[in-house]
Symmetry: none
Subunit: 399 residues, 2 copies
């Protein structure tokens, strides 16, 4: 029997539908990969009696519960109080938590409001979880059958704390047999196209195959049970890799740390010790924004240009000339340029497409691609940034 | 006392985190607007005993429950069976439901699989809800205190059925008074600081006050009951507006459409018919990226500059000079510039802060702010983009 885990989310904004609970799904994926059975997600509003009732129920029926939200400084943040009342545990002032909250404000040269003191009150016997990204410390505590972990509701803070402080402590607390999850991170082909590449591969019924199409990439997942034969696993992974080809930009689960497309490009650019200059049009600054913290991106500029309706004879030729021109006046090793055709209406309309030309100039010459990008304007922007970066990625990983 | 409504979602793909439950948020919004209090969202997997336990609980504590999922033809679709077992109600063959399912396949010239017959088995006493978009009919039934509505999990089918068949039936079933939600969208102050601004305002216990801190802004919400005196409401809103001052960039719920910070700036820039040029450093292209589709942003450039460790005597003076220089060579009406000090380590370290200087040059002169930005590098980037845009927003809305 697998150990039971529940997800519990707190916040009026959740139960009133103002925000969608993405934390619950993210945490569930982590829990399943660890080897838990996730039995239930529950979200309740800022209501003390309902919080208390729910804590009582979960303490009886689950082995572990990850709770998010309700740790803020305001009066509607009730989690610690609910734990205290539900299990008759006093709230104690945690000196270190208070120091950290005070430091948060000091770092920003802002005065700490009196209400933030409340965040340093933790149930007696709880283990504090440090929050390096916001003011709300989390805590964990065993209540009844269940080990409860309380984390802030802000997804970024929650994820960092879960990965940094909770994940490493699971092996000491629970006897889990993690299944092995292999994730092929792909870019450049849609979910159904990817499925066609692999649909003749024979997969054991013990292995779960899954797809997740995100905004920036498509993940293909293989979940192997703990005791699955290693050799069979390796040959299946090899077959997937071969069929999916260079649409795969990273394979997660094989021991090496992987990230998103920019993370992988960053590794490759650093290894070559080269620099890049960019001219953005359709991506509107987003290409540079995605490369935050990457020192090899020396410059990026966006220029608004109204394409009007007149047809440009040969956009690609213009782009090529511009790339050589840019390179002449620049110190960067590589130049990445983006152009597009289509009028303002095509840009804004989700029914219309934009034709984009990407040119990459490197020491080995000119590399170029052409794409038709459809969908809402924000999707066009994002695809433009990613498709341009992907030309760079394919070039870097080719030789 | 408001009537209590719960949302109940069924599906293994939800509890394992393969999909995010957007149905629950959508249904909650509908329910809140109708005048219900939404007490809880629960999602469970395809597990008969858990479904039964949950149905029992909800039948005792809620006045209405909207359930999605579990109505499909496969063996893991257990909703009707769970209702039958939980309340000892036989499942009866519904001739009309069967006809509709058969018609669905006939219309597509496909043979109906035997498994689909199961979908025509409904609990005795249930009212059938026709599904014109898929094969799964829904049903509604009163169980204990609660009126249960069972709808398919496919969002499009669920929404069509809810709007077409459930929404019109509410006034006959429940005595509801729709409430009014006012949202103050703010930027520039944290949740606790905002609370301090307003904490001496007397708020009727009938009015619900709520906060929601997002990555880009903080929302303060006032939920007024249907019969709340209009004048009292207006004076409370006025008092909130006055106390919160220009931290508020938009007020939602007063009839005018509102959006995020860029949406509001876009309205103001268009009204003045002015253009902008930007030099980004810390925001690394993200400022321009956030302004996608805004024609008034004529250019933006990012230049990597290694600040090293040497102290710059007067960054603000440098920024001012650069702004005037830029303006001389540019056609834009306004210039927005961003500088920062701090070494590479301070940029990357989530414990260290970066000092940012923002300069806005307009026809009325120079406007400037200085900020200390802390947190992980992506947060610094995002805050840099938003704080710079906010200087522009404050200038535009001031006169």
């Amino acid at each position: 029997m697998k150990l039971l885990l529940e997800i519990f989310s707190q916040g009026e904004e959740l139960v009133t539908g103002q925000i969608v609970d993405t934390n619950a799904a993210w945490l569930s994926q982590q829990a399943v990969a660890l080897g838990f059975r996730v039995a239930r997600h529950t979200a309740v509003g800022d209501n003390l009696s309902e919080l208390i009732a729910l804590l009582h129920d979960i303490a009886q029926r689950a082995d572990c519960c990850i709770c998010t939200g309700g740790l803020g400084p305001t009066t509607d943040d009730l989690t610690a109080l609910a734990v205290s009342e539900a299990f008759n545990i006093p709230l104690l002032f945690d000196e270190q938590a208070y120091e950290q909250i005070a430091q948060f404000f000091a770092n920003r040269q802002r005065e700490m409001p009196a209400s933030n003191r409340k965040q340093a009150m933790l149930p007696k016997g709880a283990e504090r979880l440090d929050n390096h990204w916001g003011t709300a410390p989390g805590f964990s505590i065993k209540l009844g059958r269940c080990w409860f972990v309380f984390l802030p509701g802000v997804p970024m803070e929650m994820k960092q704390m879960f990965q940094g402080q909770i994940l490493p402590s699971f092996p000491q607390r629970f006897f889990l047999k993690p299944s092995l999850l292999i994730t092929f991170k792909t870019f450049g082909a849609g979910e159904s196209a990817l499925q066609e590449f692999i649909n003749t591969i024979e997969i054991s019924p013990l292995v779960e195959l899954g797809f997740r199409a995100g905004t920036d990439d498509v993940h293909i997942k293989l979940l192997f049970p703990a005791d699955y034969p290693k050799q069979d696993m390796q040959s299946l992974i090899a077959e997937f890799s071969q069929r999916l080809g260079d649409f795969v930009f990273a394979i997660d689960g094989l021991g090496e740390e992987t990230g998103d497309l920019v993370y992988e490009i960053d590794k490759l650019m650093k290894a070559r010790n080269v620099t890049l200059g960019v001219i953005e049009t359709l991506s509107h600054g987003l290409l540079a924004a995605k490369c935050m913290g990457c020192d090899w991106l020396l410059s990026s500029s966006y220029q608004h240009y109204d394409m009007g309706s007149e047809a440009i004879i040969d956009v690609m030729a213009v782009a090529e000339t511009m790339a050589y021109e840019y390179k002449k006046n620049s110190v960067t090793d590589y130049v990445l340029l983006q152009f597009y055709t289509g009028d303002k209406d095509s840009l804004h309309s989700k029914e219309k497409s934009i034709e984009m030309y990407v040119v990459l100039l490197t020491d080995t010459g000119l590399h170029k691609t052409r794409h038709l990008i459809a969908g809402p304007i924000q999707r066009k922007q994002n695809q433009a940034a990613l498709l341009s970066l992907d030309l760079l990625r394919r070039y870097l990983s080719a030789k």
